[in-house]
């Protein structure tokens, strides 16, 4: 469990990135911070592993105040995945995955063996092990980033817009992969994104942030969708523009779902076992 307790961050230049922010992030679930730029979401994430220190309030991991923990040791036990993967360009894929175990003194052979297994976990062909990151596609690099984040078997995985820079098709693949991995490993994931659809897909708990780290709404995707707290949330999740209001249109005997803006959302499929269309 991660607790933010009245956390504030004022940068030296005077900007207040986060103002009196409190929330509880339950263990073994995924919490998504979603907001536009300037919402302080990345700052919040970085405060968990002390890449940024708050100027007020406290952050606790299982009742341990992070400000009392040594930053380097803390970072080694918290997984971190960032946009553009942040891989070490001068190390091969397998060595990149093994970065953290190697830092903590795991013997090289052992670390590499474990890294190869992790490559399987994230769906990377072992044949890529001896390549350098620049020889991989964006999607593959991101997978390496996820594998590296998992390498020390951390309880907590921090993900800072990890799929932001890949094309939509690969992104959706990576999202599904993350859901599968999370089902298997059940980490405490804190995920930052500006994409509300990504937030709803991945989050058990979604935190919608407005400027300055102000919480606009916290809840499950269903709760937020069903009862948006205010106009800001309405706007943000696209309900106001009608993107979330779906209706059925019959086209040549097939039920087609369209949203309020008239955009085609999909085809209505009757769940197997039900014969009639009682929607």
């Amino acid at each position: 469990m991660i607790t933010f307790d009245g956390v504030s961050k004022r940068f030296p230049d005077g900007t207040l990135a986060v103002d009196n922010f409190s929330i509880t992030i339950p263990s073994r679930t995924t919490t998504v911070f979603v907001g536009s730029s300037g919402s302080g979401k990345t700052t919040l994430l970085r405060m968990i592993n002390r890449m940024v220190d708050p100027t007020g309030g406290a952050i606790r991991i299982d009742d341990e105040d992070v400000s009392t923990l040594e930053p380097v040791a803390l970072r080694r036990r918290v997984g971190y995945v960032m946009q553009n993967s942040g891989l070490l360009p001068h190390r091969t894929v397998v060595d990149n995955v093994a970065t953290v175990p190697l830092l903590t003194g795991v013997p090289k052979r052992e670390a590499r063996e474990a890294a190869l297994q992790l490559m399987d976990t994230v769906g990377l062909d072992r044949a890529l092990a001896e390549r350098y990151p620049s020889q991989l596609s964006g999607g593959q690099q991101q997978r390496v980033g996820v594998a590296r984040g998992l390498a020390n078997d951390p309880n907590i995985l921090l993900m800072d817009e990890p799929f932001g820079a890949v094309d939509p098709l690969v992104r959706s693949e990576l999202q599904q992969e993350l859901l599968r991995i999370q089902k298997e490993l059940a980490k405490t994931i804190v995920f930052v994104t500006h994409d509300i659809d990504e937030a709803f897909l991945l989050g058990d708990q979604v935190v919608i942030l407005s400027t300055g780290g102000r919480i606009a709404q916290v809840g499950t995707p269903e709760e937020i969708l069903a009862h948006p707290a205010d106009e800001f949330v309405d706007n943000f999740i696209g309900a106001e523009r009608g993107r979330r209001a779906l209706s059925i249109k019959n086209v040549h005997g097939k039920d087609v779902v369209v949203d309020g803006t008239g955009r085609l959302a999909g085809i209505l499929r009757v769940p197997s076992g039900e014969s009639s269309r009682t929607v």
Partner: protein, 228 residues
């Protein structure tokens, strides 16, 4: 040619002396310039001062500096240390700017992500910043190496050994073959040094070539890799 063959032994001796006199300033200059360059890269305030001092240092006439060295260092006039210290200073002056640029060129994303996964400052320098600055450092070192090998010939003017002796001696005797031999020998040393540096670079920085190839052929390489 007959002169060269007849004096092969002396030419070889001068070549060895030349090589020995070159190696120390190149290595010392590199080893000293890298931390100074890192400092200038890391601390903005020091940057202007350091880079200006290095620029000024390079404008001091080399011969004047060599001649002044015994007074500054308290060494004997014929001490090779005078030449070595002078050339080291020039090497530093040349190398610091490149070293600063080399560290500047290391991706901020990579530095940040290595901090985030738990590199302490010390290990991050040795295992991330220094190797990634490698390609630019190597380029700078190659310039320093060539320039130092050619500057060592100046030593002959103050009675030091090295292929420069063939210049002064050939000039006094009005014997162009000897001068030409000195020039060819100096160029050969410079080329051999350069080739060695490139080979060492390939050995230590195997990823740099891959990286460059990927950048150049970004299109085709990526397409092949998109399988994921």
């Amino acid at each position: 040619m007959t002169w060269v063959l007849a004096n092969l032994e002396q030419i070889w001796e001068l070549t060895v002396a030349h090589i020995l006199l070159s190696i120390a300033p190149i290595l010392l200059g590199f080893v000293l310039a890298v931390p100074i360059g890192w400092f200038a890269h890391r601390f903005r305030v020091s940057r202007g001062v350091v880079l200006t001092v290095c620029g000024l240092l390079y404008t001091i006439p080399s011969l004047a500096l060599i001649v002044a060295m015994p007074t500054i260092l308290g060494t004997k006039i014929l001490d090779p240390l005078n030449l070595i210290v002078t050339l080291t200073l020039y090497a530093i002056a040349l190398m610091v700017r490149t070293a600063t640029d080399a560290f500047d060129a290391v991706s901020k994303d990579v530095i940040q992500s290595s901090t985030a996964v738990g590199f302490g400052a010390w290990r991050r320098f040795w295992q991330v910043e220094l190797p990634l600055a490698g390609p630019v450092l190597l380029a700078g070192l190659r310039v320093v190496s060539t320039s130092t090998v050619s500057l060592v010939t100046l030593g002959a003017l103050v009675g030091m050994s090295g292929l420069g002796y063939l210049f002064t001696n050939g000039y006094q005797r009005n014997f162009p073959t000897e001068i030409l031999t000195g020039i060819v020998g100096t160029v050969l040393i410079a080329v051999v040094f350069d080739v060695l540096l490139v080979l060492i670079g390939r050995m230590l920085l195997p990823w740099a070539r891959v990286d460059e190839a990927a950048r150049r052929g970004a299109g085709s390489a990526r397409v092949k890799a998109v399988a994921a």
